[in-house]
């Protein structure tokens, strides 16, 4: 049995290998003909004239992500502190759950919401600044919202896992809870909070549908470079937009694959960084022994020279000065988008001075009042976060529920999608989910069993774990590209349901593996021993005793990830999904299918006058995805209550 499991677990390595091989080989022409440097630093991207310089796209990706994270940091970290330190402990789980719902909303629904609500709203507010309705700002806000659940949940875990003894020690010295939070808890959790931010960046950078729907996908440099009202492009958006247009084998096609590789490298760097930081955090909290030499090295001992002394003497002032300088520059940049440079300078100086004054006053006030103010602020942040969520879901459901009737649910789209129903899309999504489950469940669960029960600390195990981590971090659109190169072309499945199955299955496999492994390792050892002591074989023990005991966790993970698969657009848009209703229902698994998320994307971006259909489609998609989320939550709670180790 062990050999079989090892073989299944190794599939993860095979998939990573295939992804690398096929993206690399597909991008080979571009590497040769365009050249890496010209590709990375070329400023002109114009497939029609054969110019493939991706600098604007790469920079655009970074800028949109930067904006997103600037938006997500205050909200995300504030909410995390609120949940861990301010909220009633009983409310903690509920609040965390609410934040998880954010993560459950499909990217395309965010994009749809952005198109319908955010863009008009921004255009009202910034009439004079916005030339087009789409903008960098809109992309960053949407991505920021999408990064929130990641930031909140990782940061909250980090803050919450700071030992209670630190809190007690600080409070016992007469510090208020707020002082304790800001001076002890947050510094102690700072690595974890940083990791949260980095993972949030990783999430934002790999997102496709939401950004491509609101940024305009213009391969230009914002002018000036901080012009958040400019059109902009991102790697994912360009891929989603141009891959269907490019013909196989030409330079455009291969340049797009090279673009995907750049994206993968970016994500890889981000994930490595977060891993290193999390390790540092563990060391700091004494989970792992401190590396004393490092403390000496990084200058916690004051340096000898007089300049070094001066720096360490005035560390606080220097940091503060730097922060204020950054603020000054930032406010100037933003203000200069609205008025002349000189007025902007005045505005920025005034704003900075006011902030400085407010901070000075805040320092002086009584620490109990300080705590009230701070906790009040955190409460406001939490409320804002929840309101955003309620608004997005509420707005779509309010408008969509009225569009839904029997004909809508079962009918075939007519008049280019403006009339009729979405029956084929619903059926297609269900078919995709079923096939995905069929492939990902055995792969995921067997691999999870292998890792939890059989894996020793060998090279192979390490490699498998690395591969799973890599898959987990791979942006969904890259799976789509890989599927296009491998299943659609090499295996010649064509654009087909079965290609979609495999791509989605590979994409959600890591989550199933991880939750299975976690659930299995949580089963207490006595249970194993009891069964083995009765002479049951290891495999029998696993199947009869351990897997059933871990069923709650396994099912939760599976349902959650299938819900995610149901909402994904980017991976299936090249390999499985079609918009036309020429042959709406697939006859065989080698036919293309309609799918809810892709249908929504298509209607929202290509079919003018299909508003009611869009709302209806978005509502059905939300109901399916959030319904699965709810089922998973109920199962989890049920098992948590029933099984108490």
């Amino acid at each position: 049995m062990k050999t079989v499991l090892t073989a299944v677990a190794s599939v993860a390595i095979l998939i990573v290998f295939l992804i690398i091989v096929f993206t690399l080989s597909s991008s080979w022409d571009a590497i040769g003909d365009v050249g890496i440097l010209d590709f990375l630093f070329g400023t002109q991207w114009s497939p029609s004239s054969g110019a493939y310089g991706a600098a604007a796209i790469i920079l655009g990706t970074l800028l949109v992500t930067l904006g997103a994270i600037a938006f997500a940091i205050p909200l995300g970290i504030g909410a995390a502190i609120y949940i861990s330190e301010v909220a009633n402990p009983k409310a903690r789980n509920t609040l965390k759950l609410v934040c998880e719902i954010f993560a459950g909303i499909p990217s395309v629904v965010y994009g749809f919401f952005g198109l319908l609500v955010l863009l008009p709203l921004l255009q009202d507010i910034f009439q004079d600044q916005l030339v087009y309705s789409q903008s960098w700002l809109a992309g960053s806000i949407l991505l920021g919202i999408m990064a929130l659940p990641t930031v909140i949940s990782v940061a909250e875990d980090a803050i919450h896992s700071v030992p209670q003894s630190y809190r007690e020690a600080s409070l016992a010295m007469g510090a208020t809870r707020w002082e304790t939070t800001i001076k002890v808890i947050v510094p102690a959790a700072i690595s974890g909070i940083t990791a949260a931010i980095i993972l949030g960046i990783g999430r934002a950078i790999g997102e496709t549908m939401a950004v491509m729907m609101v940024t305009g996908n213009a391969t230009i440099f914002p002018d000036p470079i901080w012009n958040i009202f400019s059109l902009i492009s991102t790697i994912t958006g360009i891929l989603a937009l141009e891959v269907p247009e490019a013909s196989v084998g030409d330079l455009h096609y291969s340049s797009l694959f090279l673009l995907a590789i750049v994206l993968m490298v970016m994500v890889l760097v981000i994930n490595l960084a977060s891993r290193i930081i999390i390790k540092r955090m563990k060391r700091k909290l004494g989970v792992e022994p401190p590396r004393q030499a490092i403390f000496f090295k990084i200058g916690l001992i004051p340096s000898q020279g007089s300049f070094g002394d001066w720096i360490s003497e005035h560390k606080g002032i220097i940091t503060a000065a730097f922060v204020y300088l950054c603020m000054l520059v930032f406010v100037w940049m933003m203000a200069s988008l609205f008025t002349g440079d000189l007025t902007a300078l005045i505005v920025s100086v005034v704003v900075t001075a006011v902030v400085f004054a407010v901070q000075k006053v805040f320092e002086k006030i009584d620490s109990t009042v300080k705590q009230q103010v701070a906790h009040g602020g955190l409460t406001v942040i939490m409320v804002v976060v929840i309101l955003i969520l309620i608004f997005i879901i509420g707005y779509i459901l309010m408008n969509g529920l009225s569009a839904i009737d029997w004909e809508f649910l079962t009918g075939v789209p007519t008049n280019g999608g403006r009339d009729g129903g979405i029956g084929p899309a619903i059926v297609g999504t269900l078919e995709l989910m079923a096939g995905t489950a069929l492939i990902s469940l055995p792969l995921g669960i067997f691999t999870g069993v292998y890792l939890a029960e059989y894996a020793k600390d060998t090279k192979l195990t390490k490699l498998i774990r690395e591969a799973i981590d890599l898959l987990n971090g791979t942006p969904s659109i890259v799976f789509g590209l890989f599927g296009l190169a491998f299943f659609v072309r090499v295996l010649d499945f064509g654009v087909s349901m079965v290609a979609g199955w495999f791509v989605l299955a590979f994409m959600i496999m890591p989550v199933i593996i991880r939750t299975t492994e976690e659930a299995l390792t949580a089963v207490p050892h006595d249970l194993r021993e009891a069964s083995m002591a009765m002479g049951a074989s290891k495999w029998r023990t696993i199947v009869r005793v351990i897997l059933p005991a871990a069923m709650g966790g396994v099912m939760t993970g599976t349902i959650l990830s299938l819900g995610r698969a149901a909402g994904e657009t980017a991976p299936i848009m090249f390999v499985a999904a079609v918009s036309s209703s020429t042959a709406p229902y697939a006859d065989s698994i080698f036919d293309s299918v309609m799918a809810l998320p892709f249908h929504l994307y298509y209607l929202a971006t290509h079919v003018v006058g299909s508003d009611a259909m869009q709302y209806g489609t978005a509502t059905v998609l939300l109901v399916i995805v959030l319904g699965m989320f709810a089922i998973a939550t109920i199962i989890r709670n049920h098992y948590n209550k029933k099984v108490k180790w």
Binding site: P89, K90, P163, S165, Y166, R167, E168, A169, S170, L171, A172, M173, G174, A175, T176, E179, K183, V184, P187, A188, K284, L285, G286, P290, Q292, F295, F296, L300, I301, P302, E313, S367, T368
Partner: protein, 301 residues
């Protein structure tokens, strides 16, 4: 035997024969009876002039949710002396100690009744400023818990919170507190390295130094040596003896020898009740309650 004698004079109504049995067979109902008997009546056997009482605890009842953890506990804590609390684990020593600087306020569902007088003021008055209260009554915990900062930052943390900014003044505080905690010589050359690099015993002394940094009047210690080796333990004990000259110390210990070595007064607790409180010498030589005697001689059911 003098123990026996004491028992008889203190318990005229009890039949010595049955008491003997209760000692030998620790059957539950018997123990319950004994306990009830033991708790009816007096359990404070030390005369402390009221001027010398730093904290006067009177009739404290405490509940964790539905569960009562302290029953009518009295405890006079004498100024510039060491008061020890002993008793089997789970008897409520930590609970009592933590209620003195209101650390139990942090526990959800914790409710307390009774009086704790500190400078004639009830610590549980609604208008008591809990932060300044905790500044005046510091606490040392069972497991050393220095902050993950440098040694210096650990000690300047409290003073900075309370508004001291002057570098020189802070440096003086660091030196004074480390000296008082008998740690200065060992760490003088690495004040700016992480406190987590210190040994367990050093960490605990750092925690004591940190507690001293805000000039408390009272220092509460909850089994401060239970995680330490014998040498580190004896250093902390010496330190406690030094500290009582300037501070009032209350210490919970699971180690009777420790109480007998350092404490001036000792309270013995059992199942949330104060069974006997008296001068340490008296308690260890002639315990008044039979239950105390059984505990001290290690014959405890």
């Amino acid at each position: 035997m003098k123990f026996g004698l004491f028992n008889k004079t203190e318990k005229p109504s009890s039949d010595p024969q049955s008491e003997e049995k209760a000692v030998q067979s620790p059957s539950a109902p018997r123990d319950k009876n004994t306990e009830e008997w033991e708790n009816n009546g007096q359990f404070i056997f030390a005369e402390i002039p009221s001027d010398d009482i730093a904290i006067d605890i009177k009739g404290i009842n405490l509940w964790y949710g539905e569960k009562q953890a302290l029953y009518d506990v009295d405890l006079p804590v004498r100024r510039n002396a060491i008061t020890a609390l002993i008793g089997p684990s789970g008897c409520g020593k930590s609970t009592l100690l933590r209620s003195i600087n209101r650390m139990n306020d942090l526990v959800d569902g914790c409710r307390i009744e009774g009086e704790m007088l500190f400078h004639g003021e009830n610590l549980y008055d609604p208008d008591v400023d809990i932060n300044s209260l905790r500044t005046r009554i510091g606490m040392i915990f069972q497991k050393p818990n220095p902050f993950p900062m440098t040694i210096r930052e650990n000690i300047t943390y409290g003073p900075k919170i309370h508004g001291i900014k002057d570098k020189k003044e802070l440096n003086e505080i660091v030196e004074r507190c480390l000296q008082q905690a008998a740690l200065y010589d060992e760490v003088a050359d690495r004040l700016d390295t992480s406190a987590l690099g210190l040994s367990g015993g050093q960490q605990q002394r750092l925690c004591i130094a940190r507690a001293l940094s805000v000039n408390p009047e009272v220092i509460l210690m909850d089994e401060p040596t239970s995680a330490l080796d014998p040498i580190a333990t004896s250093k902390i004990e010496d330190l406690a003896l030094q500290l009582k000259k300037e501070y009032t110390v209350a210490i919970v210990t699971h180690n009777m020898q420790q109480a007998s070595r350092i404490a001036d007064y000792t309270g013995f607790m059992y199942l949330g009740k104060m069974i006997e409180f008296s001068e340490t010498g008296k308690m260890f030589n002639k315990p008044i309650k039979a239950m105390t005697e059984r505990y001290l001689t290690g014959r405890f059911g």
